[in-house]
């Protein structure tokens, strides 16, 4: 296999073999057949020679740039970031050199061409006509609708774009919604996570480049290849769960022995993500390995899931209405008692004594 991408990689000290291995890894991560690895490598290498590289527009809305941080700080050497050598990232506020009118121009030029891949991170505020978040004087809602109309597909990057995320948390002051709440007529792939795993982001992009389509999705629009299994089912601490060995606090014997973090509020059993297999920072570690339970960040409404440190099996706050309920019950009981007594008194006063004369009538 030859091509400018291979040469670029070679200059950066990455051999063709490493590149092929990377593509094969991506393919296997996504549960694609072995031949897909080669197809991916060829498609990406070919993308480098194509006259026009696939255009990508990245729009940031109500977000914290954590998703961008995640993808830029992926494995070192930044093999994943090389994928951006084969796409034309026409607009990305954090990464682009252009600013102001230049940036807007780049965006408009890319949109004019159409058929681009639109990446969105951050939620879209609907409150106050979208005034909570504006770029170049235009609301996120307006920008998204405009950009979505010419997009081939949309990637909702991170939990905010996918499900509303932190801005959507109760009481949701800005009226934040997800991309799929706004755009209904385009293929959307959700890559939730706070932030999402870099390889998941690049894997979806590679799939799109290779096959021109989005990977198979679950009911929440997430690629099944990465979100097909729970953290719990793939967790290396799972044997301790099965043995009933739990850490009770973050510094007890159980925690030091690496026992299961279920009782410390781990959301692994209900969280679908690839952290347990792919890990973070070049496969160095991941939250549970570093001793903290899963927060469930790739699930809708994880901010409002009853507390990060409460076990999934314990109630969130069941006695919230208890005193009001007891008071209301007591009032109802007393009121009904009085009504009953009234009924009794009425019956007693309506009672007529039967006399002998009555019987002889």
């Amino acid at each position: 296999m030859q091509g400018p991408l291979i040469e670029i990689l070679a200059r950066q000290g990455i051999t063709r073999r490493t590149f092929m291995k990377y593509c094969a890894t991506l393919a296997s991560l996504m549960a694609l057949p072995p031949s897909a690895g080669r197809a991916m490598a060829e498609a990406m290498a070919a993308a480098g020679v194509a006259t026009k590289r696939p255009s990508v527009i990245w729009l940031p809305f109500q977000e914290c740039t954590g998703c961008t941080e995640s993808i830029t700080r992926s494995h070192s050497p930044t093999l994943e970031s090389l994928i951006f050598d084969v796409v034309s990232l026409d607009y990305q506020e954090t990464l682009m050199a252009a600013a102001g009118h230049q940036a807007e121009e780049a965006l408009h030029n890319a949109m004019k061409a159409g058929g681009y891949l639109l990446i969105v991170d951050g939620s879209i505020p609907l409150g106050l006509d979208g005034a909570y978040s504006c770029i170049a004087g235009r609301s996120n809602l307006e920008l998204l609708k405009e950009a979505a109309s010419g997009a081939a597909a949309i990637v909702a990057m991170g939990s905010c774009a996918a499900f509303g995320g932190l801005p959507h948390a109760k009481p949701n002051p800005t009226g934040a919604v997800s991309v799929s709440d706004v755009v209904k007529d385009k293929p959307i792939v959700n890559i939730p996570g706070c932030p999402p795993i870099p390889v998941v982001i690049t894997g979806v992009l590679a799939h799109f480049l290779t096959f021109g389509s989005l990977p198979e999705l679950d009911k929440h629009g997430r690629p099944k290849a990465f979100y097909g299994e729970t953290i719990h089912d793939r967790c290396y601490r799972r044997p301790f769960y099965d043995q009933g060995k739990f850490a009770k606090t973050f510094d007890d014997e159980g925690a030091r022995n690496g026992w299961c973090l279920f009782e410390l509020g781990c959301k692994g059993p209900v969280t679908y993500n690839a952290c347990a297999t792919v890990k973070w920072n070049g496969g160095t570690s991941w939250p549970v390995e570093s001793g903290h339970g899963c927060l469930g960040c790739s699930e809708p409404d994880f901010w409002d899931a009853g507390g990060f440190y409460k076990a999934l099996s314990t109630p969130a706050n069941p006695l919230k209405m208890a005193s009001a309920a007891v008071a209301a019950g007591a009032v109802a009981g007393v009121a009904v008692s009085f009504a009953n007594r009234g009924k009794k008194r009425a019956a007693a006063s309506a009672h007529e004594t039967t006399t002998l004369a009555d019987l002889e009538k």
Partner: protein, 219 residues
């Protein structure tokens, strides 16, 4: 609604509402029942050995002479599932932990394997009691919708709880959510159906015993 949202709802809003309705209902019914009042009994009390409220509470817990032979399923099945329920609800370690987290009270639990066995026996006893109710013409004739319904809302928490501990049918967290949901239904239904006997059984036995004792009748 995904798994996490479902579980969040049942252990959040759902449970709050269920516990609220339960407490409201229990206080309402207890105050109403005890507020009914009774007529003053002007007759002189008669004293007969064994005729008192406390005696009756105890005596009615054991079958009357000859009855065990006449209705073995009713007595044995009934005892098995009531005692089994009490053991599973009060002596299963996770339940004790729950009570501890709410009230600060705790006591030693029984081994999970033993609880598992008790749960299976209790489930079987409940099925047998139900079959008996269906098979015996008189029992079937006397049964109303409430009887079938209260049987179901008692059976479901036990079944879903056992399935979630055994990791059967659905993933644990989904089964757990269904278990909590079934308990919530039970909590809401309990104060307003015959299941309220959980609160009134000993009070009403004592009352009947005391009234009968006053008349000198040991029943």
């Amino acid at each position: 609604m995904n798994e996490l949202q479902f579980l969040t709802w049942v252990r959040g809003t759902g449970l709050n509402v269920a516990v609220g309705v339960f407490l409201l209902g229990v206080f309402w019914r207890l105050i109403e029942i005890y507020g009914l009042g009774r007529k003053k009994d002007l007759s002189a009390p008669r004293h007969v050995a064994g005729a008192s409220g406390w005696h009756t509470i105890f005596r009615r817990s054991i079958p009357a002479q000859g009855m065990l032979k006449k209705s073995p399923v009713g007595y044995i099945g009934g005892f098995a599932f009531h005692i089994g329920l009490a053991i599973v609800v009060l002596l299963f370690a996770p339940h004790i932990k729950l009570i501890q987290s709410l009230t600060g009270l705790s006591w030693p639990g029984l081994p999970s394997q033993f609880i598992d066995l008790v749960a299976v026996v209790t489930l079987a006893a409940m099925v047998v009691v139900l079959a008996d109710r269906i098979n015996k013409p008189v029992k079937r004739f006397l049964s109303t919708f409430e009887d079938w319904f209260t049987w179901a809302v008692t059976f479901l928490p036990l079944l879903t709880g056992w399935l979630s501990v055994r990791h059967l049918l659905f993933p644990y967290s989904t089964m757990l959510a269904l278990h909590i949901l079934s308990v919530e239904i039970l909590l809401i239904v309990l104060p307003f159906t015959k299941l309220f006997h959980a609160f009134t059984v000993f009070g009403s036995r004592w009352y009947n015993g005391a009234v009968n004792g006053h008349k000198g009748v040991a029943v």
